[in-house]
């Protein structure tokens, strides 16, 4: 898929995230908008996973540790054909499988997540299984920067390097905000790169909204043979909607009808600036 096609997808995904969060009157808006470009590149460019091969033991695995940004995952899975997009109109409704965190009841979801600090240990176990069975599939997990203080992440980081899991890639959606304030104010985990390097990981920084840069970075995995890879993706919480960008209240804020119109208009205006590929 060309970068222009991916750019259009990112805008459409953003519109869908907002549409379904508005409809559900619930959701984690800011974080879904910050990680959507990463998911776009993963599902449309990197991962060997599709509705057709989802039960194959050889598929790549994607485990979303920051489960609360489930709306981003759901709109991408719908676009990939795992389920009809119209299913998302039941998001967070009574007895819907499309709840506020990933569950395996939804096709395409690998693990039930939502409590933080769980994605990395699960991914380490999955990557270990691949090594044991000499399989080539790779394991990707997306962490929020706000969940880094969870100790289980660091336990798993040790195991990943101890077992030289170079088939594992963790991506940190580094939007630098969490529900209470900036990550630096709440619990300063900087320098993240040095910490992971000291834990035996190979680390890269990338602009998490630069689709070409994301493609290039993923293509270079493993960054170092015999080491797990970490991508620190620098992102903007609420990216793509001016009034949401870097504003904490949009962590799980739901737009009003007027705000939704404003956001859609802004995204539509960007969409028309991207020429079609031929």
């Amino acid at each position: 898929m060309t970068t222009k096609q991916l750019q259009k997808k990112s805008i459409q995904y953003r519109k869908n995230i907002l549409k379904y969060i508005f409809h559900a009157n619930a959701g984690h808006t800011g974080g879904s908008l910050s990680c959507i470009d990463i998911l776009n590149v993963l599902y449309n460019h990197v991962l060997n996973v599709s509705p057709e091969n989802f039960t194959s033991p050889d598929r790549d695995r994607y485990i979303q540790s920051k489960g609360h940004s489930v709306e981003a995952l759901f709109v991408v899975l719908a676009d990939k054909g795992f389920f009809p997009e119209s299913d998302l109109s039941t998001l967070c409704k009574y007895r819907s499988h499309y709840i506020g965190h990933p569950t395996r009841k939804v096709k395409g979801v690998e693990q039930n997540t939502g409590a933080l600090g769980h994605g990395l240990p699960l991914s380490v176990g999955t990557a270990l299984a691949a090594k044991m069975d000499k399989k080539d599939f790779r394991v990707f997990t997306l962490l929020g920067d706000g969940e880094l203080p969870e100790g289980s992440n660091w336990e798993a980081a040790l195991t990943a390097s101890h077992y030289k899991l170079d088939n594992l890639c963790a991506i940190i959606d580094h939007n630098k905000l969490q529900i209470t304030g900036t990550t630096a104010e709440v619990c300063n985990t900087n320098p993240i790169d040095k910490k992971f390097e000291n834990f035996g990981w190979a680390v890269r920084h990338v602009d998490g909204h630069d689709l070409d840069a994301l493609k290039k970075t993923f293509a270079e995995m493993p960054f170092e043979k015999g080491k797990p890879s970490l991508i620190i993706a620098h992102t903007v919480k609420g990216k793509g909607v001016s009034y949401m960008e870097n504003v904490i209240k949009w962590h799980h804020g739901v737009p009003s009808e007027k705000q939704l119109e404003e956001a859609m208009s802004e995204l539509n205006n960007v969409m028309v600036t991207i020429p079609d590929d031929f």
Binding site: P57, R104, E110, Q111, N112, T113, G114, A115, G117, H118, L120, P121, L122, S123, V124, G125, T126, A127, L128, A129, A130, M132, D133, G151, S152, E155, A156, L158, T159, H162, Y163
Partner: protein, 319 residues
Amino acid sequence: MGAEVITEKGKAKTNLDVFSGVLQELAEHDRNIVVVTSDSRGSGKLGPFGQKFPGQHIEVGIAEQNLVGVAAGLASCGKKVFAVSPACFLTARALEQIKNDVAYSNNSVKVIGISAGVSYGALGSTHHSLHDYAALRAINNIIVVAPADNFETEQAIKLAAQTNQPVYLRFGKRVMQPLKEINDDVFEFGKGRVITKGNDVAIIAAGETVYPAVQAANKLKEQGVSATVISMHTVKPLDTALLNIVAKKCKAILTVEEHSVYGGLGEACASYLLQNRIFKPFKIMGIPDEYTVTGSQQEIFDHYGLSEKGIAEQATLLL
């Protein structure tokens, strides 16, 4: 019961020894059997397993949350994973991982709590697991099992390896004598095992307290009191059909467990009986809600009456 570990074939062993032996036996024929330890291979008697099957053993160091998360990831790829750690750490520190990564995500991990209950009696409450039945009973989609003797342990491990449902198994490290001299029982999760039959009192026990319950039944017999003893090895799902039969047949019901009197086997039985209008003299024996006394497992059992004498006395009081 003595403290001597007898490991010759056919002789009584610790359930821990049975566990490690059965696991090696299974791994011989199934390369998907994987053991994950948290610096617990020594405590779990899994050193030989690790040496024999290095490709089927993952060591994560002292990190129980990671132990369970990693085990769940392995299980999601079809591995038959035994996550082995002392029950006290495994079911407290890694409770959220058991709840979410194992039970809720339905990853078929066999969570193995070693040195359970007050097996580490003298080491104090940090090392006691008297909460695990209660905590895990309240979590959907995990079978909770405390095998009593070597037979039950062997069967439980083999069954756990086959089942697709998450299982929690806990046992201690003392030599467990067989509950029956001649045993042709079929072991199933969720089906209690009738050890002795009698009409006066039903003693429903689990794990390492079943043996003193049987001793108590023998003592009661000398006094003219007949007791049914059930090894209720599966604490959840509870064998309510069997409970119903023995509760109706006997004049009184006594439960015995190496667990807090809150939230365990006893309260599970009480809940069933009360909600089904079976009103009989009833007593829960276990570890009371207090700062637990320390000493050897046997000394703690004796202190709280989880012994031949204590159980027989309580049974007599109920009648």
